[in-house]
């Protein structure tokens, strides 16, 4: 399992990176492995409000649907439309395949650094 040292992680296995004033959000390698082959992604629309700890979209594997839980509260500034046609990118390159970028962030979930997240995954 890969954990990128430069990212922060939520306990729901999303990663977060601050970039040019936006919060970039994706799912961790641990998450994609646990979810299995992803075959569909439901994304919010640009301008939608997202709330920390609540679903902003979902991913579907062959077997099941899983909510994507937002690690932050704010406004969706960009979505990764490439994922709509190629959800498998979330499996192949979880840290390259960002899902949404959020602006006007007003609150965040508890975020872990790489070492704390690794320990958290080891307990899971």
């Amino acid at each position: 399992m890969t954990i990128k040292p430069e990212l922060q992680y939520s306990k729901d296995h999303e990663w977060v990176k601050e970039e040019d004033g936006l919060f970039v959000i994706g799912i961790s390698d641990f998450a994609q492995d646990a979810l299995g082959d992803l075959v569909f992604v439901n994304l919010p629309e640009v301008g939608d409000a997202v709330t920390a700890g609540e679903a902003f979209g979902d991913v579907e594997s062959v077997k099941a649907v899983s909510d994507l839980l937002s690690p932050v509260s704010g406004t969706v500034a960009e979505i990764n439309e490439e994922l709509l046609d190629a959800p498998e990118k979330l499996n192949e390159d979880p840290y390259g395949a960002w899902i949404i970028k959020v602006s006007d962030v007003s609150a965040t979930e508890e975020l872990l650094d790489a070492a704390a997240y690794e320990a958290f995954c080891a307990e899971a």
Partner: protein
Amino acid sequence: MSELKRTQLYDAHIAAKATMVDFGGWEMPIQYPEGIIAEHLYTRSCCGLFDVSHMGRLLIEGPERLAFLQHVLSSNAALLDLNQAQYCIIPAEDGSAVDDAYLYRFEEDRFLLVVNASNTDKDLAWFEPIVKNYDCTIKNITSETVSIAVQGPKSEEILKKLANVDEVTKPARNNLSTLMMEGHKVLVSRTGYTAEPIGYELFLKNEDAHWMWNRLIELGGKPAGLGARDTLRMEGMLPLYGDEMGVDEAGKPMPIFALALAKFAVSFDEAKGEFVGKEALKKQAAAQACFKAKDYNPEAMTALPKRVRPIALLDRGIMRHGMEVYRNGEMIGWITSGTMIPYYMTEGEGADVKLLPETGKRAIGICYISSDVPVNGEVEVDVRGKRLKAVIPSKHISNNVPPYVVPVIYKQK
């Protein structure tokens, strides 16, 4: 809660790093590390190996074994010659299904009946008061034997090598043979649950399980889990008890003739005589025949209000078991099975079909909807609050010419 049962191959699945799940009281591999999509495609192009030892294996022995089976099964068991098998359903008196099953005749003087793992106990309890009236016995040999399904275009070649024979079984589906493979006795059946034109199910003694599994892998087979088994059977419109058989989402029993394949599984032959559910099934069969002639008269619609049909999603999304299906705003049934299923692009026709390296995937499934929806009829599916467009095609695949399954992709007009 009782402890989960394990097959003889449990440690092989663990060693292969399979993800294990509870399936009908058994701890079974749902997938191996390569994943469901890779396992599905490998079965379609080459050869998938499935541990199906969890399925219930029942030996029916004794002088009145045939009379008993004729009474409790939907099929005409008298048609089975030695080394033949048939698909059948265990009907209830109201014409719904207690279970579906496969009946094999490997030996002159006994039958092997294979039933769903999750229904084995229920089926035995169902048979118990009936079998008392016949001079025959039912012996549950599930834990004494293993069963491995070897499915896909390369399966025949692999078994030919193992048995050192020119012919594994007679060429058509439902033929059986008993072969010696490297000194081990193996019962071989040209059957399966993947819709592959070429595929086998093997029955062996427990002590031969690992030898067989390992040799099949060495010769090019790859383990595939219950996840791929589900997508493969869904593509082929093969029903699963609990989804396309049993009770519907509203708790009502589903009639056996809601399934198109009931006409191959149910016999009203005089030689079969009276059997459980016969009267109800006759009415359902008449209704199915009307629908075939596009006659949706009220009597037929009452006997068989809904049917099990393929469904393909036209909008973006995925259909899942339990979602509601609508026609012109009216709820007409439910999705019984659905997911995103991969396929190989193909070129050529008939026996010259070639699989291309390119693959695609499509959101398809099976639904149980009002019987009067015609082929190519458009419907809507409620996918978590959104009404998505879908169509009822005639089928999802074509598999009548070996060696390859050819996907039938619905093209919107």
